[in-house]
Amino acid sequence: MLEIKDLHVSIEDKEILRGINLQVNPGEVHAIMGPNGSGKSTLASVLAGREEYEVTSGSILYNGQDLLEMDVDKRAHAGLFLAFQYPVEIPGVSTATFLKSSVNAVRKGRGLEELKPVDMLKLLRQKAAELEIDPKFLQRSLNEGFSGGEKKRNEMLQMSLLEPSLGILDETDSGLDIDALKIVADAVNKLRSPERSFIVVTHYQRLLDYIVPDFVHVLSQGRIVRSGDKSLAFELEERGYDWVREKA
């Protein structure tokens, strides 16, 4: 599914990622943990194709394709979805309008026909209900004035609508209370399947109580310094990130 080899990434001549190797197979959930500034969010952004990061060496294969050669929208069409840490506000664009455009753009990119307005409406309503989102919410401007929890729920709504093959969650748990956290985790767990993989970027072990990962990787100073199963997350929680830094 995803194969990252010796990935080096800089921003404004400062090296952030210094040789990342990671393989994600279909159906797996990988958690990426690490202290602030370790490069977790950079990795998520580079996978989605953010431009201000410069990949200086290394490669990323996604379903056999060279991911680094693909435009941002083409990556989305190919099934890569990034749930943002800070979803941006777009004034004057209703959430419904945005969701419709997004779903149809991705469908078109996948060689499917655009959804008829009636079917689109049905789909939006159904998915919103699953996430306990009030349909009135869809008429509001995209993310404008949304609470932290609403924004993250909106991200999950988009993920369930776009049915990605690889979902990347960039610190989706930050700033969420326990109820919102459960809703996010619920959405991810519902989407888990033998074909669909997830990369969950998080600072805290807490989220992993609800999204149980197959693998946990610890990132420190731009490198993966430890990998293991879910027990590694507990160990980290107990001993703190200093323990990893010493090891590194």
């Binding site: 989605a48 194709g49 953010r50 431009e51 201000e52 435009d71 941002v72 929208d73 990556r75 989305a76 069409h77 979805f81 990034l82 943002f84 979803p87 941006v88 777009i90 004034p91 004057g92 664009v93 309008t97 945005f98 455009s101 997004s102 753009a105 991705v106 990119g109 401007s141 995209l142 988009q158 776009l162």
Partner: protein, 481 residues
């Protein structure tokens, strides 16, 4: 420069799509301006003597005036003797049906996407199409006249309704109001005239398409709209002009009069030739638009989408004379490449309990300069005036400029005046977010820009709003053909 900045540049550097010249025979005067030329225009139009004298007095005042240089725009000096002041299609058209109209003209209209004739009847819009300076076709006149509504070319109004014209012409924009208004008053060629009688709600949107067609011909349109007590009218003005190398001067005057409890909604989509990517050519658009809320509870609402012209100098204004009168100004002004716009409004509060709203959205791209200039004035005797102004600027790329010049003059302590202003760059974060959700870059930019302009588009009549969105996409597109 980052890649997405590069994309913005590509996106905002497309060619003008309405650049062509149609081959209609045109009868023109020689270049230059003098009393003789003013008399000749008046004679050509078979005008009454009072109007000839009115023009001449404006011309004499104009001679004493100097061109204003306070707007935030730069252009080479205009040689007023190098302009042709009158052009009219040679075949004087008097048609009952579209079949009789010069097919070349119809093709031109079709290429511009102007649905003249049957399509418009279905859409319920009356069209008074003006090509160059003479009205070519007026539809719906009969239906409107049953309600007592007058909707005709200005020349026709001078002949058929001289008393109305004489009473109101220059009553809102006096002949010597400013340099370009004086020039217009001296040499105006044609335009539109509307009169809505007492208590009548005009059943359709009245629409006029202006078009500049003959090379080197200044356009001096004159529009006069009178809404009598308790009446309502929505008027649409839209324009495109063909590609041209030399700059063309356009100095129009629009006067609106709204009587007691009457409402005038005036919507404009302006898409004249903006010049090429290097800033060569394009229209100089120096327009005076002003409305008088004459009666109590009267209302005038301006909505404009300005995407064209090399230089725009335009401040649709409201004089709120009647008590409880309302003035509104909703504007989207787009500048790209080397375009310059200095536009805004004036709200003059004279009566008691008057209200005004100003929503201005500027979008600058390329190396253009976009200025908002607005004045809110509350006179000493105007009790409880209320103004709300919101002026937003959106920058695309890093070589363009946005400027805001708000002027406040409040002489009455009971006034409430609120002003909000923002300047933002089209966010790379926003673009990235939308693209990550599968949208192409162009579609992402259009979505952001349309969202930004929504408050103004909401004020436009439905079909005009659709047209305005398309225009915005065309004005700002580049990478997609």
């Amino acid at each position: 420069m980052s890649n997405s900045m590069q994309t913005l540049e590509n996106h905002t550097s497309s060619e003008y799509k309405y650049g062509f010249t149609s081959n209609i025979d045109t009868e023109s005067f020689a270049k230059g301006l003098s009393e003789e030329v003013v008399r000749a225009i008046s004679a050509k139009k078979e005008e009454p003597e009072w109007l000839t004298e009115w023009r001449l007095s404006a011309y004499r005042r104009w001679l004493e005036m100097t061109e204003p240089h306070w707007p935030n725009v730069k252009y080479p000096a205009i040689d007023y003797q190098d302009i042709i002041y009158f052009a009219a299609p040679k075949k004087k058209p008097q048609y009952e049906s579209l079949d009789e109209v010069d097919p070349e003209l119809l093709r031109t209209f079709n290429r511009l996407g102007i649905p003249l004739g049957e399509q418009k009847i279905l859409a319920g819009v009356a069209v008074d199409a003006v090509i160059d300076s003479v009205s070519v076709k007026t539809t719906f006149t009969k239906q409107l006249s049953e309600l007592g509504i007058i909707f005709c070319s200005f020349s026709e109004a001078v002949k058929e309704h001289p008393d109305l014209v004489r009473e109101y012409l220059g009553s809102v924009v006096p002949p010597a109001d400013n340099y370009f208004a004086a020039l217009n008053s001296a040499v105006f060629s044609d335009g539109s005239f509307v009169y809505i009688p007492k208590g009548v709600r005009c059943p359709m949107e009245l629409s006029t398409y202006f078009r500049i067609n003959a090379a080197n011909t200044g356009q001096f349109e004159r529009t006069l709209i009178i809404a009598d007590e308790g009446s309502f009218v929505s008027y649409l003005e839209g324009c495109t002009a063909p590609m041209r190398d030399e700059n063309q001067l356009h100095a129009a005057v629009v006067e609106l009069i709204s009587k007691e409890k009457a409402t005038i909604k005036y919507s404009t989509v302006q898409n004249w030739y903006p010049g090429n990517k290097e800033g060569k050519g394009g229209i100089y658009n120096f327009v005076t638009k002003r409305g008088l809320c004459d009666g109590d509870y009267s209302k005038i609402s301006w909505a404009q989408v300005e995407t064209g012209s090399a230089i725009t100098w335009k401040y649709p204004s409201c004089i709120l004379k009647g008590d409880h009168s309302v003035g509104e100004f909703y504007s989207v002004a787009v500048t790209n490449n080397f375009q310059q716009a200095d536009t805004g409004t004036k709200m003059i509060h004279l009566g008691n309990n008057t209200r005004s709203v100003i929503i201005s959205k500027g979008i600058s791209a390329g190396q253009s300069q976009n200025s908002y200039r607005g004045q809110v004035k509350v006179a000493r005797k105007a009790q409880n005036a209320h103004n709300f102004s919101q002026c937003d600027s959106l920058l695309m790329g890093d070589k363009c400029g946005a400027h805001t010049f708000p002027y406040l003059e409040v002489e009455n302590p009971t006034a409430r005046v609120e002003h909000e202003a923002t300047t933002s760059k089209i966010g790379e974060d926003q673009l990235f977010y939308l693209q990550q959700r599968g949208l192409r870059e162009d579609d992402a930019i259009n979505m952001i820009v349309n969202g930004y302009c929504k408050e103004v588009f909401n004020e436009l009549p439905m079909e005009f709003a659709v047209e305005a969105q398309k225009l915005l996409e065309i004005s700002l597109e580049g990478s997609v053909g």
